[in-house]
Symmetry: C2
Subunit: 196 residues, 2 copies
DNA sequence: AGAAGCCTACCTTCTAGTAGGCAGACAGTC
DNA sequence: GACTGTCTGCCTACTAGAAGGTAGGCTTCT
């Protein structure tokens, strides 16, 4: 199926977990070595350099994001429900502490000091999410299932900012439920105005 | 006036700049040494350990924040204008690239891997900003100069999330003006509803 | 035979941090 | 005014350990 070995995946997974907790400079090959139970040098066999590792990691992260979004679009037709599902995804990740932060949100913070190869991947991820959210907003506005108060692309970026900002706040306060609390009003603001 | 020497201040300033661009693990005493024009060992004379340095840095950052907020409250009476001024402050910092990121927003991302002494200071900063924004929201609601759609503390955290998320997006796209673009709709949503 | 996967052993550079010395500023004292 | 002690700020020189990375050898699978 996949052309990457099992170990390769384990390395990527542990690297992602370490990355999520402390950023690019917050982990080393030795840390991965401890988790995976493999020697440092063996990691270099799979990923010659740290830049390679993280670049592949973010690349895969973006591809997984694209696949996830495609699946979401297939299963949910209502644009507002898509936004709710997207927010719900993160809400769940944060609350069960499985993936309590977006890899690219964290790396975006460190962007100015990131190796250019990695930085490029990170901005590509942002462009993808942003353009996808824009398309959702546009469709919602057309179908009148989403209430926009600004242009679709601005609403998309604002929504993303709120989601990522909420992630940050949840982490800062050590309060996972805060994420939903912050995002909920934004979702209800985007909901269609009910007749009264 | 201040009991910290000039050099001490220079170290803190350059440390802050380095911190803003790459986070806690993204800079070293050698980097500071290069900027300030002092030997590494001399930095240890002022700040025995890196934890000391960053703890003091965040402490001072919070104190400066408290002072800044106090000044803002003194000069601007309208709660909505206070929010606008707060957003405007960051907008300016980002656009002239002087302080294009909040120290604590960046550190909050790295929180799980931060030394506990630093982590404590970071969460204290968030608590301060959040409770201040809550008080602004409350006053605005009372005076009917701010339109709230949720409880004041939730609106405060949501506003902060948007501001910090907008910071991140501006950095991710390398587009400083994006900050204002994202924050502006939030501000107008909080504006009093005009009679029609 | 050869490639894949992992190993030990090693290298260089960077990391935070220490030890100890030296020059100047500022006392107090004779 | 010279004589002392001490404190501050900075220096050179050094340490131990961690960083990312390399060389080369040993199995195992194809």
């Amino acid at each position: 199926m996949s052309k990457l070995s099992n170990t390769s995946d384990e390395i990527l997974t542990s690297a992602r977990n370490l990355l999520i907790s402390g950023g690019y400079n917050g982990f080393s090959y030795a840390d991965i070595s401890d988790v995976v139970g493999i020697r440092k040098a063996s990691i270099h066999h799979h990923f010659p350099s740290k830049v390679d590792l993280v670049r592949v990691l973010v690349q895969q992260y973006r591809e997984a994001g694209i696949a996830g979004v495609a699946a979401l679009e297939r299963n949910v037709s209502n644009p507002l429900d898509i936004l709710k599902a997207y927010a719900g995804h993160w809400s769940q990740c944060i609350e069960d502490a499985s993936k309590p932060f977006c890899v690219c949100a964290l790396l975006a913070g460190e962007l100015p000091s990131l190796p250019p190869e990695v930085a490029t991947e990170v901005t590509a991820f942002f462009r993808f999410i942003s353009s996808w959210l824009t398309s959702v907003m546009e469709r919602g506005a057309m179908e009148k299932t989403i209430t926009l108060s600004s242009a679709p692309d601005i609403e998309a970026d604002a929504f993303l900012a709120t989601v990522y900002g909420a992630m940050l706040s949840a982490r800062a306060y050590g309060n996972p439920t805060l994420f939903s609390t912050i995002v909920a009003p934004t979702l209800s603001r985007l909901s269609p105005i009910v007749a009264h």
